[in-house]
Symmetry: C2
DNA sequence: CTAATAGTGTCTATTAGACAGTATGTT
DNA sequence: AACATACTGTCTAATAGACACTATTAG
């Protein structure tokens, strides 16, 4: 095909000569929720939570899955993810990042579908409307060691556990290959997707300010520390935590009272930090 | 559509009802090369290099691009990337990781193509055959500050520079949006893809053992330090470097002589480190 | 007063940065 | 001998871990 120019080439290009597939995006929407305590002295217990949707149709009818949808021909993956996020939450200008593209051949029983997963973090207080009636927030309890990840999902009506085995992918990095050992309630490969998202979030907690996307404008340092602790699933020492967080936040003159203990200063994320 | 079971649903499923697109994978193959020095005393100068392919056909005829190809219907993205890597280098069991999925609507002038980029690291000494005749190793010189990335490519026949502007994507993380300011020689969005790969590699150098994928079995600590220095584009202090690297390598009884200076012990990557 | 959280001071251990010094090959 | 790199010792600065202590509220 001896074309004279790129224009000429493109005019005669037959786009049907390569095989095609459908693409979707799935979005992991993480947030933090409070449950009231019985003891007036204690803080509200925080939970790390994810938004799941109950499938109304086949395949995987009645199983839970991540919000997602097909990518249109006139939108990028980022745009598709943002659109789907807005559909579920009616929120805009939300933190979102591309996670990983999943491409197992039979990950969808209908046909070959490649899916790019996104991770999004929201402050639940921003939700001004109800989430769709087939959607639900699940609190997660994550137990992880170097061999296994154990995630328990609980939305106060039903609860279930997903178990994932980790095997080191190669010697030189900390990358693991995940394989689902137990999963009776999540559709598609979404157990893997959620596990990847949790892993990414845990990492980014340590070296970025990503956590503030889940926090309300004003928060106490105790609340902030709680969020770190539930996601990382370990206790942190107060003085060390405050040292690390010190130049990321600024103290306001607001105070939170009402607990049966010393009131706490309210802080705010400091924008123009060095 | 009131199907009785998943089997029944799948039997009647019409896969043509969703729009489809083609997917490709592009692979950034990074390595390190030596150039001989004029001074018998000095070490060989090392270069950080990438494998590029000259496009033989439209679009972007005669421009350089990353090795890549269409994803087949019966292979995953990982498999496609591994296949393409083997085509270019005839190497197997090589370090490869998924980088990012690029989906700009007009990134390919032919049609809508979404491409998942992979990053691969090789030790050039493993190359037992010639690379394809339309492929070439380019040494890269990277100058980066918080506003701009400047990459100069040089394969000893031609050289060119790509300039990329960085703008902070959001406040809470260190993520940047890259936009190409100058690029006359790289096809598609591959300037962006390479910049993303460099960024990922720089990060992983600091907290993983990824560098050893580019090293031969035996190496001196000076050579290893050189590799860090050319990729990070900064000088490191010897004692600090040796402290950090100490428990990742083991000394062998081999020695490298021949330079006009004290001989250097040869080390090896230590597999069963704590 | 008590229970619970808020917040700080300080000691110690570990790690990172800096620099100076000694060692040893080839020409 | 001179040069370039190899390699180590040590001081200092910065950071992280641990623990103990004081402060303040609602009930």
């Amino acid at each position: 095909m001896p074309y004279k120019s790129e224009e000429e080439f493109l005019k005669h290009y037959d786009s049907s000569k390569f095989e095609k597939l459908s693409m979707t995006t799935d979005i992991i929407i993480f947030s933090v929720s409070n449950s009231l305590t019985t003891n007036y002295r204690k803080l509200n217990e925080k939970h790390f939570s994810v938004l799941l949707v109950k499938r109304q149709d086949y395949p995987f009818k009645d199983k839970w899955c991540l919000p997602g949808g097909f990518v249109k021909m006139d939108e990028t993956l980022d745009e598709a993810a943002t659109r789907i996020l807005a559909t579920e939450t009616n929120l805009h200008n939300i933190y979102i990042e591309q996670l990983y593209t999943f491409s197992d051949i039979n990950r969808d029983p209908r046909m070959r579908i490649v899916s790019t997963a996104y991770m999004s973090l929201i402050d639940k207080n921003m939700l001004n409307e109800k989430i769709p009636k087939n959607a639900s927030w699940f609190n997660m309890k994550i137990l992880e060691d170097d061999k296994t990840i154990n995630i328990t999902f609980d939305n106060e009506i039903e609860n279930f556990t997903v178990v994932i085995k980790k095997t080191l992918k190669e010697l030189t990095t900390d990358r693991y290959k995940y394989s689902v050992v137990k999963n009776d309630n999540l559709a598609f490969d979404h157990a893997l997707v959620i596990a990847s998202g949790i892993s990414r979030l845990k990492n980014k907690l340590e070296y970025t300010d990503i956590v503030f996307n889940m926090m309300p404008e004003y928060f106490t340092l105790g609340e902030l520390q709680q969020v770190y602790e539930i996601i990382l699933d370990k206790k942190l020492l107060d003085p060390a935590f405050r040292r690390i967080i010190a130049d990321k936040v600024e103290k306001t003159d607001k105070v939170k009272t009402g607990g049966g203990h010393r009131p706490s200063a309210l802080f705010r994320y400091k924008l123009n930090k060095k």
